[in-house]
Amino acid sequence: MKRIGSFFCVICSAFLLAGFLPLQAIGQSNVSVKSTVTQTTIYTGERIQLTVEISGDFNDVSRPELPNFQGFRLLSNTPSTSRSFRYVNGQSSTTYSYSYQLIAQQQGDFRIPPVTVTIDGEDYQTEPIDVSIVDRNDAAQSGGSQRPDIFLQLEVSDEQPITGQQIISDVVLYFQDGLEVNSYQPVPGWKAEGFWKEELENTQRPQATSTIIDGVRYRKARLLQFALFPTKSGELQISPYEIVVSVRSTRSRGDSFSSFFGGFGGNQRQVELKSDPVTLNVQSLPAAEDSYYFGAVGNYNISRDVSAQKATEGESIEIKTRINGTGNIPLITKPEYELPDGLEVYEPQENSQLNRRNHQISGNKTFTDVIIARKAGHYTIPEQKIAYFDPSQNRYVSQTLPALNFKVARNPNTVANGPSAGTMPVSPVTGLAAWTTPAPTDLLSHWWFWIGLLLPIGLLVVAYWQKRYTDRMSNDRAFARSQKAADTSNDRLKRAVELSEKGKVKEAYNMLQKAITGFIGDRLNLSEAGLSNKDYIQALEQQNIDAELIKNIRMLLDKCDSISYAPTTTPEYLKSHVGLAQSTLEKLKKVL
């Protein structure tokens, strides 16, 4: 009854205080309900304490509605209660605690179901708690543990994380009854290669809870807590963690819930403890469907904005990209944006704030792009799709950042002092310009080069041939006679026709004969005098000349011989012989 009365006093006081608070503060509801047990592994027959803690800003709260417990028996429906009230920075906060005693009755693994509490007319439920109950006799028969009476262990929240995923690593100290830990000191220099690590804040002193390992009761206390972010995939090992603890042996007091830090006394000693290394199998990130992933793993809210909608030429404008949430904030890189031309971009600034409380790394990171527009106009930075990986959903979450628009006005000072105002010595050339088309640069592509090269070569060849001919004509008499034979015979034939027209038939036939024999003699380089017709015929026969041709020649020569002694012959008759002689000599030219 006394407790209940006190409880009502507190309630009334809380209501009075709430009446003085601004309405806005009253309207805010930030209530948390959680249940805890003193041990999660106990022997049959042992007691554990179930505590339901309600904290936040509220007006009315009901007593917890307890569920049916399997494996346990509730000692009393009436809980022991405690409450506290805080008023910090205009925010009030009340905490109620209801504690119940449970006795373990059956061996096995049991779950303490959720406890329901009605706060301001709304039902809240706690998370269920798993508890193992071990039979004391079975534990005694198992022969006890091989473990030392005090040891250190690294316990990770996930042994198969994804690259970049936040995992929590607890440094947990286990020690048996009869030992009392006075203090501990971490050995500096712990490295977690392949991980980015951040130590998490823990405002509470380490609390020892009881547990049973291989049938032996230990007390365990989480000393430190780290957030680790794997930076690469594969098998990664967290190196051993070392601490120095100051312990002392105590007489068994049978109180397994004694304070973690005992007082100083006898049998005190320093023990250096080292945990076993922990191997993690880090999975690589799934292949991204697109290139919008920018290195963030976790759960984020991303936004961006521009510092000014209007600016002047040369004035700096900031584009801020804000990323807040939970995850690998220190490892996030800036998303890349497509910026329009005419903007001068400077090295982006980076600012991050990490929150190490609540057993995780959360916070925000801000990237500030500083840009300067060099000319007036409307600028639009197009919308940008970005993606981060959410391990809880095991997928990439994409988000579209809206387009940013701003206007840059001309800076009158820039115009006055601009390049055209005198600093730049040259002004643009306007008016008519002389246009040219670039000529081919390959020399061999010029037509005149080939003409100019081949023409003198051809000229040289022709001239050389002509020179050789001239030289031979003047030096080689036989060659000269042979070359001139046709012309000489033609002249003689014309002369024969002229003589016949003048009535000099005899001289004409002599000339005809001379034309024929002269041609044969010149061609075959025969003696110019002293040869008979027969000699010429023989010479032709030695050249394997066609017999018909030789026959014609012989006939003509015989005619010349006989007709030179028969002066009655007419000029027409001679002309027929001249014609025959011409055709015969033409044929002879081809074979001699």
Partner: protein, 259 residues
């Protein structure tokens, strides 16, 4: 009658097609004037687009390159401005203005490069390229060659020509071959080695065409290089360059514009 109809059809077709063709291809002067107006009104990027359209169409002039350089300079892209001023300096009508602009823009760069004097042979080759040109040299060589050949032939057929003409013709032909060789060498040097200007703010000159290799030097916007095209051809996206201070190395091609 049928022929008249066909003729009429072709005339109509020509009348319809010809103006369309004329409109599709604007004259270079008109595009240039349009770009100049944009430049004067401060729309530098649009002006550059028009100027570069002419550049791509191989319609070149000193005024075009000078105005391109001025446009880039007003956009504070000094490397590209220098590149176009260098191009404008090759044209007689804008050489003087381009040199003034080059002097000014060179003074604006944040980093200045030390310049090692060129070897005399390189100076001579550059002079020939700039002032005479390989084609002119080749044309001169062809003319001299023909004169030499004619002199040589003349001695065969004209007896009164003195005998030393023959020796003289050999000398003339030899000179022509020497000029021709110089023309081809000048062209080879011109094709293999080209001047380039760095147009990005900063880049590393490295020993090998790889991302991870020893650093030779750091280069900055406005630095000029001599690019060896023969060596660069084996490595896409990389250029083998000689810096103006005499150092050699590789630079990503995206950082330079080759003249």
């Amino acid at each position: 009658m049928k022929n008249i109809k066909r003729l009429f059809f072709w005339i109509i077709l020509c009348v319809l097609i010809l103006p369309t063709h004329g409109l599709g291809q604007q004259s270079p002067q008109a595009t240039f004037d349009q770009a100049n107006e944009l430049l004067n009104s401060g729309e530098y990027e649009r002006a550059i687009t028009h100027y570069q359209q002419l550049e791509k169409q191989k319609q070149w002039s000193g005024a075009l390159f000078l105005n391109l350089g001025i446009s880039y300079q007003r956009l504070d892209s000094l490397g590209k401005a220098k590149y176009y001023y260098l191009k404008a300096s090759d044209f007689e009508e804008t050489a003087s203005k381009a040199q003034q602009a080059l002097s000014y823009v060179n003074s604006q760069f944040s980093h200045q490069s030390a310049v090692l004097p060129k070897l005399p042979w390189d100076v001579a080759t550059t002079w020939l390229q700039k002032n005479i040109g390989a084609s002119t040299l080749l044309a001169a060589a062809i003319i001299v060659l023909n004169i030499g050949i004619l002199l040589f032939i003349a001695r065969w057929f004209i007896p009164w020509i003195p005998s030393y003409f023959r020796m003289g013709s050999f000398v003339v032909i030899g000179i022509s071959l020497l000029i021709m060789a110089t023309a081809f060498y000048t062209q080879y040097i011109s094709d293999r080695y080209r001047e380039a200007v760095m147009v990005t703010e900063e880049a590393s000159i490295v020993e090998n065409p790889q991302a991870e290799t020893s650093l030779v030097s750091q280069a900055f916007e406005g630095y000029t290089f001599t690019v060896d095209h023969r060596r660069s051809g084996r490595h896409p996206n990389w250029s083998y360059v000689r810096m103006s201070n005499g150092l050699y190395g590789w630079i990503p091609t995206e950082n330079i514009l080759i003249l």
